[in-house]
């Protein structure tokens, strides 16, 4: 069993609103006078709804950025930390990096920690690329010898060889980011902490970064804590997941489980609507909908909907017309309102009563993204009886499998067609460059 290199016990970070200070000496003195000496309400921080209690005791509201976290990280593990904005991910990384102190609790650890919370920390726009490599390396905790030893590798990785002596303010933003990441990527700590650095840069660069990080994690056996909003990157890079929600540890475990739980909780879907009373149901004098439902055919019950999932749409409506030829169109729109497809049903003669329909969108057909479905009920294949817009909404997560590229996949749909490559001739060809 690998040894534990980071142990977090009952870690909390609390910010007390209104106790930090106003930033002006004269105001702080005035405040101290009114709240402490005269026992009156704080003149500068008035919290809505808490006038009396906040004023009387001189105390203020607490904001728990992190609350009672407990976890252990073993040597060589790669942890992905996920959660919504403001969940405390960055706070946690900052505490482990020693930038800010926790309010309660303790973190124990072994080995040298380096953190990369921002691309280009310590870079100065006026200095040349060469100067910045050294300075940034020092700030991140490298010694002069380490930077010198890695210098050529860093330059090669960043691809800015020709501009080493140009001030980085004249670099394109892409070059700047590449150089900055290159320095950080060549750190050799025991524990590496990385916060959302892939948000910058183009697809090519992201691929390179992820490749480098994968190499660091798997070949060199580093312990890594990694924050990202890209679930694809987290899933491919990490083996453990940690899900924070409003400062609390929501789940931890293998990365697949945690990511799935997180995605299920965040997916915006409106998967089922039903009405018992026709008077309240959407519709008109001809048609009223009784029920619409989206039934995903998931392999695992707790997994989120992804592009592999077949989706079955089932619906029922009250038909108030009699002896009418009715067909239904199911129209799928992307969240942006672009129509992806329009599938008509067969047209059949129906009597008054309840009509049911069902249609399945196969898996491995739609691209990832958010969608909504509208159902149009049509008479005699020409006249619209009722248009039920926006009746179902859902989101599909991305799934790449073995593909190690994480840019946005092009196309309105992403169908899987039979596609084969074969070698039809063997011969020694000279490379012509």
């Amino acid at each position: 069993m690998a040894e534990v290199v980071i142990q977090v016990e009952q870690l909390s970070k609390v910010y007390r609103l209104g106790t930090i200070g106003t930033g002006y000496l004269i105001q702080d003195l005035q405040r101290w006078w009114t709240t402490t000496v005269r026992k009156q309400q704080d003149p500068f921080f008035q919290l809505p709804g808490t006038h009396v209690s906040a004023g009387k005791s001189g105390q203020s509201q607490a904001l728990w950025a992190l609350q009672d976290l407990n976890f252990e990280v073993k040597r060589g593990e790669v942890w992905g930390i996920i959660g919504n904005n403001g969940a405390g991910k960055s706070t946690l990384l900052k505490i482990i990096s020693r930038i800010i102190r926790p309010s309660h609790g303790i973190i124990r650890g072994k080995g040298k920690v380096s953190s990369l919370l921002e691309v280009g920390t310590g870079f100065h726009p006026e200095l040349s690329g060469r100067e910045n490599i050294f300075l940034s390396g020092y700030i991140l905790g490298m010694s002069k010898r380490e930077v010198q030893a890695k210098f050529d590798e860093i330059v090669a990785f960043s691809g800015v060889e020709h501009f080493l002596d140009t001030p980085v303010k004249r670099y394109s933003s892409g070059m700047y980011v590449r150089l900055a990441f290159a320095v950080a990527a060549h750190l050799e700590p025991d524990i590496l902490i990385i916060d959302e650095v892939l948000a910058v840069g183009d697809a090519e660069f992201q691929k390179k970064c992820l490749g480098k990080m994968r190499e660091v994690a798997h070949n060199q056996g580093r312990t890594i804590l990694f924050v990202s909003h890209s679930m694809a990157a987290i899933t491919s890079l990490c083996d453990h997941g940690l899900w924070l929600q409003q400062g609390q540890l929501k789940a931890q475990g293998t990365v697949g489980q945690v990511v799935n739980q997180y995605l299920v909780s965040t997916q915006q879907s409106n998967a089922k609507q039903s009405w018992n009373d026709p008077a309240q149901a959407p519709g008109n004098e001809h048609i009223r909908f009784k029920q619409v439902e989206l039934i995903p055919q998931l392999v695992q019950p707790d997994a989120p909907l992804d592009i592999r999932t077949p989706l079955t749409v089932k619906f029922q409506f009250w038909n108030f017309t009699s002896d009418t030829v009715i067909s239904t169109s199911m129209v799928l729109f992307s969240a942006g309102g672009e129509c992806i497809f329009d599938v008509p049903s067969t047209a059949t003669r129906f009597q008054a009563g309840i009509v049911s329909g069902e249609c399945t969108i196969p898996g491995n057909f739609l691209n990832d993204g958010a969608y909504y479905i509208s159902l149009y009920v049509i008479k005699d294949t020409t006249t619209s009886l009722f248009d039920y817009e926006h009746c179902l909404t859902f989101e599909l997560e991305d799934y790449r499998g073995e593909i190690q590229w994480f840019g946005k996949w092009w196309g309105a749909v992403r169908p899987v067609f039979p596609f084969r490559l074969t070698q039809t001739e063997f011969s020694q060809l000279e490379a012509r460059l």
Binding site: E3, V4, Q7, Y15, I20, G21, G23, Y24, L25, I26, D28, K94, I95, I96, S97, R98, I99, I100, R101, P102, S103, H104, G105, I106, I107, R108, G109, K110, G111, V113, S115, L117, E118, T121, G122, H124, E126, L127, E131, F134, L135, Y138, I139, L140, G141, S143, K144, P167
Partner: protein, 301 residues
């Protein structure tokens, strides 16, 4: 010794399960901030950063300037001309028998060291908020690097002073400074540096908390110059007010500096002892406050 931020655990009796009793942690992070802050080894490990920062600051000041590093010399020279004309010729303050050019230049050079490093260090937190909140390194590195940078500047200006002194010795029959006094010159310089570091550290915490403090500072330091024998010798001050000037811990240092180099200056052992004690106590207190408050300040910045 109190525990450091990343201290070795002194005793590991409080661990929870029996299997962990043998665990030895290399560091731990707790909510308490320590007075002592980073250990000396920690600072030493980041020495390249300090050197790199000094180098950066020097490169930055003179990049894209026409005169480049000559500005280091031009600034005191222009100030010198102003002082000689205004205080020497127009106001007519006595320089106690020393050629005015030498007298003022010595004062300007030493005052620049104090003024620049004090002002530079006092904005440590405000200038580096971005870096401090993104990466950890001993925060003391920044003020130390700044002091180093200004000492380097001072070195160049001091060279100019020596050249001018050499000229006066050769052509104007100014006495050659005696060897024993010369030994005290580095002491005076170091103490001025230490005092500016101490005051700078203290006010860096204050200006980070209270932004209006920085306006007060720039005003205060200008007034403080007139309480320091930069443009006048202590002997020129009326007996009635001399105690006020001598209360200033910089006074014996300026007088010592001039006494050693130019042979003119009034400094006594008790005055020097007062200055030395004052500086040491203040530096220690400032270091403690800087360490203790530094971690809290990151939350505010």
């Amino acid at each position: 010794m109190p525990p450091n931020f990343y201290s070795h655990l002194q005793d590991d009796s409080s661990t929870t399960t029996s299997s962990e009793t043998k665990e030895e942690w290399e560091w731990e992070i707790v909510h308490k901030t320590s007075w002592w802050g980073t250990s000396f080894q920690d600072l030493w490990a980041y020495r390249h950063l300090a050197i790199g920062l000094v180098r950066r600051d020097f490169l930055l000041v003179y990049q894209q300037t026409i005169l480049g590093p000559f500005w280091v010399l031009l600034q005191p020279l222009l100030t010198l001309v102003t002082y000689v004309v205004v205080f020497g010729k127009v106001v007519g303050i006595s320089t106690g028998g020393v050629p005015p050019v030498l007298f003022y230049l010595a004062g300007i050079v030493l005052w620049n060291l104090f003024n620049d490093s004090f002002t530079g260090i006092s904005s440590t937190f405000r200038d580096n908020a971005q870096v401090f909140s993104k990466v950890y390194f001993p925060r003391l590195i920044i003020p130390v690097a700044r002091l180093g940078g200004y000492l380097f500047h001072f070195g160049i200006q001091f060279g100019l002073l020596i050249l001018v002194l050499g000229y006066y010795v050769l052509f104007h029959h100014v006495a050659v400074p005696s060897g024993r006094w010369l030994l005290l010159v580095p002491v005076a310089i170091l103490l001025v540096g230490a005092l500016s570091l101490a005051l700078g550290l203290f006010f860096s915490v204050m200006t980070a908390k209270y932004r209006d403090m920085s306006h007060l500072l720039s005003l205060g330091i200008r007034l403080f110059m007139f309480l320091t024998p930069v443009i006048y010798p202590v002997s020129y001050v009326a007996e009635k007010w001399r105690w006020l000037v001598q209360l200033n811990p910089l006074t014996p240092l300026f007088e010592l500096f001039r006494r050693a180099l130019l042979g003119q200056g009034t400094v006594s052992v008790p005055q020097f002892a007062y200055c030395f004690t004052f500086t040491s106590v203040l530096l220690l207190a400032a270091l403690l406050i800087f360490n203790k408050q530094g971690d809290k300040l990151i939350d505010i910045l």
